[in-house]
């Protein structure tokens, strides 16, 4: 392992990182160049570490090429928001930025973050500064570092949720890059010589690839903990008041794949063992530094922690982590996940507070006409944020929980939700409620096919087929991504579509409803008609042969169709 990485030529991005003076590059100069809406190519890699991706409207590329105009460049900005929790004041600030500087939408991501899309270069600094003014930063939201840390959204157990959230914050902050580049570039912070800085954990070239961490509280696996590089499964005390005894640590999950590259594959995380809370940060740091030193820096498609573990073997990896953390894992404690989905609607929490989980299709909050009627989500949530006293929580399924609503305010919020068409949880089918899609076209540079824009139609087609077999109203987990990198975690869905080319997808079948089983490639590179033709006989058999409450994915496994 170490031999292969040290002998192979580092990938070009490694050179960009090492020459970047701890992520500075020439971003500041590039922001001042009014003749182009883009940054210099090396800087676009560095910009990710600052929480932003350079994109362009791919729908307009050819048209603009003929007009002798450069692509319509804009920037996606992603927040670092551990556990997806924000205050109404923060919400209003983000809403204002989305309206003034972005494309009028807020997007909730599968990593519990906000994304602004379509921010043009000359507004970038102002937008980031305004976010920081309400204490939301974007450091390490993207890039080869530990990204936003997920935490289960658990409305029934406010104490445990608070604990999970607190750990997500601690892990995130412990693993933050230490460079002052972010403050210098975006916040006019004083210039610091990079000689005076040290990245104690990351070193000057950071990690070989992105790194994802999550904290889950069973029985809810909304964070899809087995899809993470590093996961902490909260184990409650068996006696006394609600509190966490510690965590089962899992490592080496990851869904990203490269089409046609057999050396890449989706992988579920392995359980390393149990640790008590005081060891969480040491273990997190040990896993990160192991990956830092032993990960593959020559091939970015083979650089995630899952490949490091595959190459080392689980035993040696666990031993290396124990050595670095200075501890031994206890045997993992029992836990049970029952669902990876969200529970929509009203729930009563502790202290007589109410929580409301809203369905936000594809996480896109906008005022617009949709397949299910007019939704004025942005306006509605602005109104709610203006009067709401509790908090907002983004779920890892791109939905929104309005937490801590007093009984007195409940009717008012209920009214605003209805008035603005945000009451999908009362109207939409189970398939529509649980589906996920990444952004894909037109802005994601990686997209090979549509995802977010295609999802509503796709569900309509699937539901037509379900209805033909008397399956209307049956829950089914559908996820679509525009490329094989897996942002919407398609490899864990009962029906997962992975984009290959415009209108063509790989069809994966057979995930479970709790994020504990990878699905299987069932049809390769097919269009919609072929996908539906493939599903039709499977729905027929499912309708005829399923057991009570048996999910479609489980049925496909039990009946050995897959």
């Amino acid at each position: 392992m170490t031999e292969t990485t040290s002998n192979a030529t580092p990938s070009p991005v490694e050179g960009i990182k090492s020459r970047s003076r701890l992520l500075r590059g020439t971003i500041t100069e590039g922001l001042q160049d009014g003749a182009t809406g883009s940054l210099a190519e090396p800087d676009t890699h560095l910009l990710k570490f600052h929480g932003s991706y350079q994109q362009d409207d791919r729908d307009l590329r050819e048209e603009r090429r003929l007009q002798r105009l450069e692509p319509a460049y804009s920037f996606m900005i992603r927040t670092r928001l551990p556990g997806g929790v924000c205050s109404p004041e923060q919400w209003l600030a983000l809403d204002d930025l989305a309206t003034r500087h972005a494309n009028g939408t807020l997007r909730l991501t599968t990593r519990q973050a906000f994304q602004l899309h379509g921010v043009i270069k000359r507004d970038l600094k102002q937008t980031l500064a305004a976010m920081n003014a309400v204490l939301i930063d974007t450091i390490a939201a993207c890039g080869d570092v530990n990204r936003n840390v997920l935490a289960s959204v658990n409305p029934d157990e406010s104490t445990l949720h608070a604990a999970a959230h607190a750990w997500a914050v601690k892990i995130s902050e412990h693993l933050l890059p230490k460079t002052r580049a972010y403050h210098e570039i975006w916040l006019d912070g004083a210039k610091v010589s990079e000689d005076e800085e040290t990245e104690h954990i990351y070193g000057p070239t950071y990690l070989p690839r992105k790194f994802k961490a999550a904290v889950a509280i069973p029985p809810h696996n909304d964070v899809d903990v087995f899809a993470q590089d590093l996961g902490f499964i909260g184990i409650p005390e068996t006696e006394g008041p609600a509190a966490l005894a510690g965590f089962n640590v899992v490592a080496g999950g990851g869904l990203g794949v490269t089409h046609g590259d057999a050396a890449t594959f989706p992988r579920l995380a392995d359980v390393l063992g149990f640790v008590s809370p005081e060891h969480v940060l040491a273990v997190a740091e040990a896993v990160v530094t192991t990956q830092r030193d032993l990960g593959d820096r020559s091939n970015r498609k083979h650089a995630r922690l899952k490949y490091t573990i595959e190459t080392m073997g689980l035993g040696p990896f666990r031993a290396e982590v124990e050595r670095r953390a200075g501890l031994h894992f206890d045997p993992a404690r029992p836990f049970e996940f029952r669902t990876s989905g969200d529970r929509f609607g009203w729930t009563r929490g502790e202290n007589d507070n109410w929580h409301l989980t809203l369905r936000i299709p594809a996480g896109r909050i906008a005022d617009r006409q949709t397949e299910t009627g007019e939704v004025r989500g942005l306006s509605g949530l602005r109104s709610i944020a203006t009067m709401h006293k509790g908090s907002f929580r983004i779920t890892p399924n791109q939905n929104l929980l309005i937490a801590g609503i007093s009984a007195a305010q409940r009717p008012l919020i209920e009214k605003l939700v209805r008035e603005h068409g945000l009451d999908l949880h009362e109207r939409a089918s189970p398939v529509r409620l649980d589906a996920l899609a990444c952004v894909a076209l037109p802005t994601c540079p990686l997209a090979m096919a549509e995802a977010e824009r295609y999802l509503p139609d796709l569900i309509t087609r699937i539901e037509e087929r379900l209805a033909l077999h008397g399956l209307a109203g049956t829950p089914l987990l559908v996820r679509v991504t525009g490329c094989p990198n897996g942002c919407a975690r398609p490899y864990l869905a009962e029906i997962g579509l992975v984009g290959k080319a415009p209108g063509r997808y790989n069809l994966h079948l057979g995930g479970d409803a709790a994020g504990q089983r990878l699905n299987t490639l069932y049809r390769e590179n097919v269009g919609e008609a072929a996908m539906l033709a493939a599903l039709d006989p499977l729905f027929a058999r499912y309708a005829a042969e399923r057991q009570t409450a048996e999910r479609f994915g489980d049925f496909l496994w039990r009946s050995r169709i897959l």
Binding site: A35, E63, Q67, R68, L69
Partner: protein, 606 residues
Amino acid sequence: MKNANQARLSPVPIEPARGAALLNLSRGVNAPALHYMAGFLAGIAAEREQAADTTAFDPGVAASTESAAHATVLFASQTGNGRRIAERLHRQLESHGLSARIVSTADFRPRELAAERLLYVVASTHGDGEPPDDARELFDFLNGRKAQRLERLSYSVLSLGDSGYPKFCETGRQLDERLQTLGARRLAPRADCDVDFETAADVWTQHAVALARTHLQSPHIAIISTVPVASAATAGRDNPIEIELLASTRLTGRGSQRAIVHLEAAAPSPQLDYEPGDAVGIWHANPQFVADDLAAAIGADPESRVALDGIERTLREWLLQHREITRLSRPFLDAHARRAASPELDALRSTNDGTGLRDLLRYWQPLDLLERWTGAWTPEDLVRALRPLTPRLYSIASSREAVGNELHLTVAVVEYARGAARRVGAASRYLTTMDPATDSPLRAYIEPNPRFRLPADPSRDIIMIGPGTGVAPFRGFLQQRIESGASGRNWLFFGGRHFASDFLYQTEWLEARRSGTLHRLDVAFSRDQREKVYVQHRLTERGAELLQWIEGGAHIYVCGDAQHMARDVHAALRAALVTHGGRSEERAEAQLAQLANERRYARDVY
């Protein structure tokens, strides 16, 4: 090519400075004119040989001894019409055996006036009564304290203008009055020519020749024809050639308030030979819907026959091909006002404070008048009152070195609403709605612009200031500099409304910058932020570097809007000289005048 020319000149027995001056004189002059110049010089040589005068030629001495015996045709012209009229007069004088020289105000030293005896001036007016750039020095001289009395001078002025502007023929009018004030004798009344200048110009020219025959006695220098003057090879205003439009693509992106189109047309050599900086003249046809609306507005059948000066065509043909129907002229306005007898219109016409008359002439089309104020017109009267169709000039946006036998244009589409009606600019509409695959060819000719040329010395830096479609010639400039491997640096200032949609030729500029052939690129987009930002603001920000470039010998070029941009840019340049060069306002202004005089500060503004 230019290097080859210099090499050929060096063995000639004249001192290097004079060789350089000769080279300078030939710059930007087309082949027929060069042959003519050669012949002219040969004629002088023959005369000297006859007089056994082998001494060096001294223009100062020559002027004082010969001016009494010759006529000088002085032209101040921006678009070339003036030069054409001056050349015609000069040719006719020559053909009558009269001694005459022709000189542009750019090359004319005002002090020479005192030595002149017979002077013909052809002067054009631009924008809001402005003289052409290179006539400013003459104007300043005549209006200043250095102006001498000109009692021995006889003169006549032909003034060119556009009655679509309130200060019609202002330059010629002022020159005419000033020369008289200084004691010169006006031989013939001034001829004020509108856009359809041909007839009035012919009358004035014939009169001028007749006057010269009575005022000049001494024999003139014969022109020795060294090479046949084969001007037929070149297409001209009155003998355009038909060329194919090859491509038409929109340059402005979605969300732009302006449609600006890039056109590529065939440019056969030699008929359409051009240099970067030149313009192409294009004869357009009017939009049929405007012609038919006009016919309807006077209650006439577009198919009715109309005879005028012995030519009979249908009314529609007259209006489509032969008359200006989208530009309002002063004579037409006056003619319609007489028919309409509207107190409102008369009141508007008599207010010349920048609202009434000026707005009418600038923003109204003939159709607007007819629809707003009724007046009885016969088809014949209408055709007679409308001005003949004139070609439109567009700066060429390419270099032959880069595009071969093509020429490229950057055309802004003029289109706006007046009430419920749609109004269009006839020529831009004609060009931009043309289908390259199916439509009939364009009729075009080259309008040389010798005052707007790249430096002959390729090592000179150039500063190009061209917002909007003013950037067109600079695309040609940069192509030429790249193709010729010029070592001087290139700096472009561009401006528009919105970065996202109005950055004309953005990818080409960026590619040139990336490849190191465009050394500086500064842009200003006026409507992307609360406060409007224009190119002059960028000039001010870059003042210190501008000064360095200028002091290093850089040439400055400005192209585009004359009304505001060119003035603001001029002020910004002056301010840069003051702020960073420690000059007084007056010294800075004088330095810019000096640069203009040396053709290091050239403007192509309209």
